[in-house]
Subunit: 340 residues, 4 copies
Amino acid sequence: MTIFSSDNVTGACPEVMDAIVSANEGIAESYGNDKWSSKLQTKLSEIFETDVVVFPAVTGTASNALALSVLTPVFGKIYCHELSHINTDECGAPEFFSGGAKLVTMKSEDGKINTNDLSKNIRGTGNVHLSQPATVCMTQACETGTVYQLEEIQSIAETAHEHGLRVHMDGARFANAIASLNVSPAEMTWKSGIDVLSFGGTKNGCLTAEAVVFFKPELVGNFPYLHKRSGQLLSKMRFVSAQLEAYVSNDVWLRNARNANAMAKLLSEGLANFPDIKLAYPTQSNEVFVHLPSSAIDLLNAEEYNVSEDELDGKSVRFVTAWNTVSDDIDKLISTISNK
Amino acid sequence: MTIFSSDNVTGACPEVMDAIVSANEGIAESYGNDKWSSKLQTKLSEIFETDVVVFPAVTGTASNALALSVLTPVFGKIYCHELSHINTDECGAPEFFSGGAKLVTMKSEDGKINTNDLSKNIRGTGNVHLSQPATVCMTQACETGTVYQLEEIQSIAETAHEHGLRVHMDGARFANAIASLNVSPAEMTWKSGIDVLSFGGTKNGCLTAEAVVFFKPELVGNFPYLHKRSGQLLSKMRFVSAQLEAYVSNDVWLRNARNANAMAKLLSEGLANFPDIKLAYPTQSNEVFVHLPSSAIDLLNAEEYNVSEDELDGKSVRFVTAWNTVSDDIDKLISTISNK
Amino acid sequence: MTIFSSDNVTGACPEVMDAIVSANEGIAESYGNDKWSSKLQTKLSEIFETDVVVFPAVTGTASNALALSVLTPVFGKIYCHELSHINTDECGAPEFFSGGAKLVTMKSEDGKINTNDLSKNIRGTGNVHLSQPATVCMTQACETGTVYQLEEIQSIAETAHEHGLRVHMDGARFANAIASLNVSPAEMTWKSGIDVLSFGGTKNGCLTAEAVVFFKPELVGNFPYLHKRSGQLLSKMRFVSAQLEAYVSNDVWLRNARNANAMAKLLSEGLANFPDIKLAYPTQSNEVFVHLPSSAIDLLNAEEYNVSEDELDGKSVRFVTAWNTVSDDIDKLISTISNK
Amino acid sequence: MTIFSSDNVTGACPEVMDAIVSANEGIAESYGNDKWSSKLQTKLSEIFETDVVVFPAVTGTASNALALSVLTPVFGKIYCHELSHINTDECGAPEFFSGGAKLVTMKSEDGKINTNDLSKNIRGTGNVHLSQPATVCMTQACETGTVYQLEEIQSIAETAHEHGLRVHMDGARFANAIASLNVSPAEMTWKSGIDVLSFGGTKNGCLTAEAVVFFKPELVGNFPYLHKRSGQLLSKMRFVSAQLEAYVSNDVWLRNARNANAMAKLLSEGLANFPDIKLAYPTQSNEVFVHLPSSAIDLLNAEEYNVSEDELDGKSVRFVTAWNTVSDDIDKLISTISNK
């Protein structure tokens, strides 16, 4: 294990941990009928500049699969990138929660889906022999560390909506994308056509806190039952809500994300100085993907960085920075590689 | 809301909260590959006096549904009490996780299933037209606050095993039952024929921590994939494992359960002093069910105890004591009723 | 095997077989876009005196499970009799097709559900912890050979609709019930509150032909996709449609059912003449359930009637008459028993 | 509609229809416990030169989905061609029957999957984050009318087995492939590594008859329950078994397939004579795919051939010949195009 293997090797940031400790005083209504959960609803509505409906969850896998399951019929198609987390890293959770939806994957150089591919793949609406086009899922920031520009989101969402599809954003690294684009949460979501968001907190300073955020109340439908039935409605929900509330208060989430992004930038630039090291994807958030000579890999592993090229695409090594990464960590990594 | 509406209105006990705070230092491997998760495995193996395989989860609903899903084929039958949590309070999670299993319910006066009823209901093995007998689920302590005696567990498990079924225990209030029977965890589980246990921590002093405990490694099968696929494999699993480890260390769990049980006893005895109040079920753990005159209900609700007869069986009022209930709370409740 | 073990041991009646042979001429559009399927739609609309939407299927299990799946959400409850085919004889098909619905069973002496029990069992609407009341299923004629009177159907349907539930009729022996009550198909279905019908043909003279019949087009919803996805949309659908069309033409179905009912009556009356033989249920359609002395069972089995008390409720022997049963068959059976 | 739109626009061939009529005499045990079903088992064991276990079904969709569901865990991956029927034409049946398996699709010019692509795509075995490699599915003959050579089947099966996967063959046009390769059924299946076959009869002269054929009894597992639960266990199963038995007797199936293949060849050669018409795929069974100038398409549609380029890959027109196509039909089609 090493500090760069993932942003989920970190603990919670101080504000979040303090919120948990504070929430532990006294008794509180269970199953989300507590004041922290109410405040979270209000707080996120402020941050997104619209009335949102929020359902906390404890894993990104559950958050994504639940969101997709309310948007997609059992015979539906979910369009996503081949490298997306829902396709590669959730052991079939979207298929499970949706009751058998089909993930239709698209490839691209930059880890993002694009409007042309999407258009070509939306086929067969109304033909009973075919799984039916239902949902598009964008990961923001992408698994490859790249970030969709607002125009890209808008274009994809527009195409989806024209064909009667719904648009989901997997925001496991939502804050990193916001920090990267320097836009408002509203601009990057509903103003650009996102219908439902998986809002991630765990990777960026929470202990374990995610949320499904609906921008259109009419899409909520049976979600409360699906939420309960999946074992994601916590009896002591206040402890998840309290984390999220602290996380989005006082710009804690943006501060955390900015640090992670800055450290990734530092690392990326440091690596780019080596003539035989090439970035696999541009560094736009808190993940750095590089093609490393095997000598560099050996040196890193001798220092227990435990790197390999198998993480994502079988071709590049991944380094993930986090809310608490410091420049010394980067310097040490660069220095290790220098010895190759 | 009132302090007696459920044991899940409480927060975490100090030892558990301290463990969370301590676990927050430094980085740790994700997805359960951390030292807290390893220690939990060891610790629970000690407590159960056998090598157990443990998978943490965050809700009892998920823990139960996951355990049942690995024991029951998609066309299987799960035998349980009509009032059991898996039948009444999980919005179909066992059916969902198992891919369509059928819950066969049995009634009884004391909230427990019994061997005779079970025998009669196990039918049709090998007949392709019938859902196939697969699993028996006992809740210990029961939803009605009653507790299975060891002989009862053994008899049910024996009948189940004779017919080739597996035996699951829903231990959402496992500690309360242990404290009530004053037996060892081994005696109340695998030594009496339990194959898989849902081990509850949340209600009795954890923040949110449950676990599926396998007493027979050969039953684990595909569980790791089912666990991940259901969104219950937390990236920062250390925080659940740390809770459970602190919970079962130094008899914290038993101390908590003993207090809850003692307070229930105190309440039960206090209520029994009123000639017009009758217990609906004997008080054997931390739940008290009583038939209250409507004047008493009105008095309690005037003090915001928010009681009603709808909680479980539509016929009795439920009071649940917890790890942190104090005798003053009981006195105050009794005193309120005295005014009727 | 014996001729009385079930009505499905028979073949197809001449009119149905002729229709299959006729339908085999020339080519025809596949997947139901053929003239036989169109005519079936028209024909059934005439017979039911309203515009119905019809989807053929090949088994009663599929027909029931499909109908229930479009009426019931994944977290829904289906209310039915404990002895109903969907609960006892479909190996979990309703749970499978619905994605995990829960069957809530009710008992009664006559094999029918009743309004009081139903009312008591409809609980928890809007409570996310509980599987949600969704659908009521009546079997007409019942598994016990009894038949719901129109007022009974109306009362159950009214209760269901008041609570927002949908009403399904399992009509595997629909014709026998119509013949028994001597009412119109419209009266026994939509005029009495039935929303969706599983219309059976196989047992009463078809080769293999069932249909899901919608009385309210707005309930069809996603059914065409569910139909295809379940493998029930036949490429050469004309051969199922042709059977059903012939079956409901020229009163073939009623003639067949009347014969089966009359033969059951004959058998029932013949058995009632023995002082030590008691009917288990009144004979109202084409099934006769009797408590037989073991000497009678032995005599029957010596003649290879292969009877036992295990068929339905473990307490009575079942004899089923069919469209082609003749009085000689009955006489021979009675005569065999006479020797006891 | 036109005679070339699919082979499923045809009816049943005389031998099959005669068998249905013959099977209609007398009563017979239901649910496959009849003599026709027994004889089918024997007959297919002879034809495949090994003891096979056979389960009849009524659609190819059901047959495929059932076979895949017993080979693939709920979190499993099924490897198949992008154009395969299970991926494009079954409205998600494989996902439904399997409880959420993921179809991993591969592309190729000739409509066949190949060993290299398969090897590259088999990844992540044992990693709980990933859907698990489980099953490979080959369509023989392919959707594109091409046919796998024995060496190709062997190579794919070997790769699959080396990685612990199971091998399924979708044989909706199995007879056409046998006729094309002129090999024995044993050679094209279990001797080349096929574990389970969907054996198609409907398209090639049956009324509606398919079967799942197991070459390894140990793979049958829970199939009988899955079969029943899916509504594919017909009560009057004799009528499906009788079709299949007649179909494989006296080389009826091969005679039918040879005619269809020969007519496709005739058509293919006729079309190849036009300088501006190019075959999209080589004609190796009973499907012909061609790139047609729009003038030709217009002429054909003026004669109600109803052709379009949307059928399979959006780029070519499909013509399917059948067991009863005659050379006059081909001549007429060619002649129509000649006028362009």
